[in-house]
C-alpha cells in the first residue's frame, strides 16, 4: 500500500524510505492504539482483492523462501501484494475514502518525512526528494528570490 501511496519511479519512494519499517515501529509505540485497525484493515484489503480480482494468482513469492519479503508463507496473507501494480492502484482507488486507507496514507507520509530515527526516511530520501536541508540553522540568503535583494 505504502509503495503505491508514494511510488518509486525516477525518484525514490516509500520502499526506499523503508516506510514499512517505520510503520512497524509506530504500531508498537505512538500508534499502538491503531493496531486493531490495521489487523482489520488488512483483512478487508484481502477480501477486496478477492472481490475485485477473483481470478488473480495467489501470492507471488518475492523471496527465495516463498511468501513475500516479510516472511509470510505463500497463500496466507498479503495477496494484495501479488497483484500487478495497475491492479493495486485500481483497488486502492476503490477504498481511498475508507478510514483505513486514510490511516495508512498518514503513516506512509510520516514514514517518508519524519526523522530517520523513527525508522523511515531511510538515508533521508524523503527530505532529499523535496529539497529539505536538515541543518536546523541557516544564514541568509535563504532562496533564489532573496539572494539579490537590495533593500526596500
Amino acid at each position: 500500500m505504502a509503495a503505491q501511496i508514494i511510488p518509486s519511479d525516477s525518484t525514490p519512494g516509500a520502499r526506499e524510505a523503508r516506510v514499512v519499517h517505520f510503520i512497524d515501529q509506530a504500531l508498537i509505540t505512538f500508534a499502538r492504539d491503531t493496531q486493531a485497525r490495521y489487523t482489520q484493515g488488512l483483512k478487508d484489503l484481502q477480501m477486496k482483492t478477492r472481490e475485485l480480482f477473483p481470478g488473480a494468482d495467489r501470492i507471488q513469492p518475492q523471496s527465495p523462501h516463498g511468501g513475500d519479503d516479510r516472511g509470510f508463507p505463500p497463500g496466507s496473507a498479503l495477496e494484495f501484494s501479488g497483484l500487478a501494480s495497475a491492479q493495486q492502484v485500481q483497488l486502492l482507488k476503490a477504498i481511498e475514502r475508507t478510514e483505513f486507507f486514510t490511516l495508512v496514507r498518514q503513516h506512509t507520509i510520516m514514514g517518508f518525512f519524519s526523522d530517520p530515527k523513527y525508522g523511515g526516511n531511510y538515508n533521508k530520501v524523503g527530505w532529499k526528494l523535496v529539497g529539505f536541508e536538515d541543518k536546523f540553522a541557516f544564514e541568509p540568503p535563504f532562496g533564489y528570490y532573496d539572494r539579490d535583494y537590495k533593500g526596500e
Partner: protein, 551 residues
C-alpha cells in the same frame, strides 16, 4: 526563586502564565509584591524542544492534548454542541507565546473608537474601548523593548504615532517576502517588514534567531522568540518574590461572604486539590479559560458565576478572520528556512463604507507550512492534487517553490458568540468542558471574500505561475478574544478600564478576553501592552491600600 506555602496568604495569585500573565506576575513581583503564578501546563525550556516534526505532531510535550482538554462547538444555541478541537492552544509557561509566529503589529488609532467612527451596527456590540491608542502607546513601547521585538518603525504608513523605534532591526527578508513585496508594489500598495517578537540580534543576554525553520508551532531552541517566559519571568524570579507553579490547573476562584476573592483552588500535578490563599487574584487564563473560570466560580452571592451578575461573562467571543492563498514560483524559495513571515500590507486594514460592508484586514506573505511532514499532510498543496500516487509525489516537489499569503480580518462582536460550560462533557479532571457558540456576521464573510481577491491579485502581480485560494469558510476557531470585555458601564462589561472586575474589588482580568473589538491584526502584542498598563494600575491600587495587600 521563591517558594510559598499554600497556606500563606500571598499578595497576588495570577492564573495563567501566558502572554499577559507572564507580564503581570513579573511586574507585580518586581514592584515588591509576593506572587504565586499558577500555570496549568509544564515549564518548558530550550533544551526540551527537539528539531523533530513528528515529536510535535504526536504532542509528545503534552501541551495541546485535546483529548484531556476536550471542547464542544455549535453555531447557534438552537443546535446541540458536538465535540470538536475548537479550543486548542499551547498549555505551558508562556502559553501561546511559547509556540507562536510572533507577528506583532500594533492596533491602529481607530481600532479603539469603532463605535464613534462607524456608528452602531444593529444586532452587534460594535462600540468604543474605554481606553484610547494614546493611552496605550507607551505600553506598546514597553512591550517592544522589554520583551524584545524586531521591526522598522515608520515603515508602515498606516501605523499610529510611535514615540520610540523598535529596539532592533527586522529579520532578514525571505523569498516569500521579496515576492510579496514585488507584487504589492506593482499594485501601488505599501508593503513593510512584519514586526516580530523574535530577536534579530542578541539582546539583554538572550540569543538571536538562528533561522532554523522550526518556528511557529514549535518551541524555540535558542530562546530567540520573545515570550515573557524567556524575558520577564527569569528576571522577576530573581527578586525572590515570584513563584511560578506549573502543572497547577485552577478550577475555581473562591470568595468570602463579602464578595471578595480569597484565593484559587487548583489541581496539582497529582490531581490533588489545593487552595492557595491570596489577597487579590489576577485572571490571565485567556479568552476561553478566564470566562470559564468565572462561570465555574459560583457562590450564593454570585449564582451565575463570579463577576457575572450582569450575565456578560463569556459574551462577545471573537475569532478574527483567516484565509490562505498559495502561489507556486519557477525558482526555489526554500521558504521553510527562518521565521514564518517577513512582509505584509495594511492598505485594506480600515473599513471603507464604499465597499458596502463593515470590515477590513491585514494581508501578508509567508511560509504557510512547517517542515516537509506538515506540508505533505496539510493544505498547501494545490487543490485537485492527487492525494496519493505518482501525481501526489509530483505535487510534493513544489515544497521549495511555494509561498502562502494569510489574512487577518475583522469579526464583529456578537453577544450570541460566546463561551459557556458544556452541560454534559467534562475534561480529564472532571471539570465541565468549554462550549463554544459561534456564527459570524455576514459582513465578516464579505470581508474575507474581499481580501481573498486581493491576495490572489498580489500573487499574480508577484509572478506566480500557479496560484489558488480555498473557498471562504465560516470560522470554527481562531484567535480567541472577548468574553470579559473592558467597559465603563458595569451593566454591559465585565471589567473596568483598569481591568478590575465590576463589583469584585480584588479581582482583575488581564488577557485577550478584555478586547472590545478585534482590530485587524494578531492580538498578542496588544494583549502584552494591556498587561503592562494593567500591572501599573494594579500596583497603584495595591500601594494605595485599595486591595489590602501587605505592601
Amino acid at each position: 526563586m521563591a517558594k510559598f506555602n499554600t497556606r500563606t496568604e500571598v499578595d497576588f495569585v495570577v492564573v495563567g502564565v501566558g502572554a499577559a500573565g507572564g507580564i503581570v506576575a513579573s511586574e507585580l513581583a518586581s514592584a515588591g509584591f509576593r506572587v504565586v503564578a499558577l500555570e496549568q501546563g509544564p515549564y518548558m525550556h530550550e533544551k526540551d524542544f527537539p528539531f523533530d516534526e513528528l515529536f510535535y505532531h504526536n504532542d509528545e510535550l503534552g501541551i495541546t492534548n485535546t483529548r484531556r482538554w476536550p471542547s464542544t462547538f455549535r453555531r447557534t444555541d438552537q443546535e446541540k454542541a458536538v465535540q470538536a478541537d475548537t479550543v486548542n492552544y499551547t498549555r505551558c509557561v508562556g502559553g501561546g507565546t511559547a509556540t507562536y509566529t510572533g507577528s506583532s503589529t500594533r492596533h491602529h488609532v481607530n481600532d479603539f473608537i469603532e463605535g464613534s467612527l462607524w456608528g452602531s451596527i444593529a444586532g452587534t456590540g460594535l462600540r468604543d474601548w474605554p481606553i484610547t491608542y494614546a493611552e496605550l502607546e507607551t505600553y506598546y513601547v514597553k512591550a517592544e523593548w522589554e520583551l524584545g521585538f524586531s521591526g522598522l518603525g515608520g515603515a508602515n504608513p498606516f501605523e499610529g504615532p510611535r514615540s520610540k523605534p523598535y529596539p532592533m532591526p527586522p529579520l532578514p527578508i525571505k523569498s516569500s517576502g521579496v515576492l510579496f513585496e514585488r507584487g504589492a508594489k506593482k499594485l501601488g500598495l505599501h508593503p513593510f517588514p512584519m514586526p516580530l517578537a523574535i530577536l534579530s540580534q542578541p539582546y539583554r543576554g538572550r540569543r538571536a534567531c538562528i533561522h532554523c525553520g522550526f518556528c511557529s508551532g514549535f518551541g524555540c531552541t535558542v530562546g530567540a522568540r520573545s515570550s515573557p517566559a524567556y524575558s520577564d519571568i527569569p528576571v522577576a524570579e530573581k527578586t525572590g518574590r515570584l513563584e511560578v507553579r506549573p502543572n497547577s490547573y485552577v478550577r475555581e476562584i473562591s470568595t468570602d461572604k463579602n464578595g471578595r476573592v480569597t484565593g484559587a483552588v487548583y489541581f496539582d500535578e497529582r490531581k490533588r486539590e489545593v487552595f492557595q490563599r491570596a489577597k487579590a487574584v489576577v485572571l490571565s487564563a485567556n479568552a476561553y479559560e478566564s470566562p470559564r473560570l468565572l462561570l465555574l466560580s459560583k457562590s450564593t452571592r454570585f449564582p451565575d458565576g463570579l463577576a457575572n451578575s450582569n450575565g456578560m461573562v463569556g459574551k462577545y467571543l471573537m475569532f478574527g478572520g483567516g484565509g490562505s492563498a498559495e502561489g507556486i514560483f519557477e525558482q526555489p524559495l526554500n521558504d521553510y528556512k527562518s521565521v514564518r513571515v517577513t512582509r505584509l500590507v495594511e492598505d485594506f486594514y480600515a473599513s471603507d463604507p464604499k465597499r458596502g460592508f463593515y470590515g477590513g484586514g491585514q494581508i501578508d506573505g509567508r511560509w504557510g507550512s512547517g517542515g516537509p511532514l506538515a506540508y505533505a499532510l496539510g493544505g498547501a498543496l494545490a487543490p485537485g492534487s492527487p492525494r496519493w500516487g505518482a501525481g501526489f509525489k509530483d505535487a510534493l516537489e513544489n515544497f521549495n517553490h511555494t509561498m502562502t499569503s494569510n489574512i487577518f480580518s475583522t469579526s464583529l462582536p456578537l453577544e450570541t458568540n460566546n463561551v459557556t460550560l458544556d452541560p454534559e462533557l467534562k475534561d480529564a479532571w472532571g471539570v465541565p468542558a468549554i462550549r463554544v457558540t459561534y456564527k459570524e456576521h455576514p459582513d465578516d464573510l464579505k470581508t474575507k471574500a474581499f481580501l481573498r481577491e486581493r491576495q490572489l491579485e498580489i500573487l499574480e502581480a508577484a509572478g506566480a505561475r500557479t496560484k489558488w485560494a480555498g473557498p471562504v469558510r465560516e470560522a470554527r476557531s481562531g484567535h480567541y478574544l472577548g468574553g470579559c470585555c473592558m467597559g465603563n458601564d458595569p451593566k454591559t462589561s465585565v471589567v473596568d478600564k483598569f481591568h478590575r472586575a465590576h463589583g469584585v474589588p480584588n479581582l482583575f482580568v488581564v488577557d485577550g478576553s478584555n478586547f472590545v473589538t478585534i482590530a485587524r491584526n494578531h492580538p498578542t502584542c496588544t494583549i502584552q501592552a494591556l498587561a503592562y498598563r494593567a500591572s501599573e494600575h494594579i500596583v497603584r491600587m495595591a500601594k494605595s491600600g485599595d486591595l489590602k495587600t501587605s505592601h
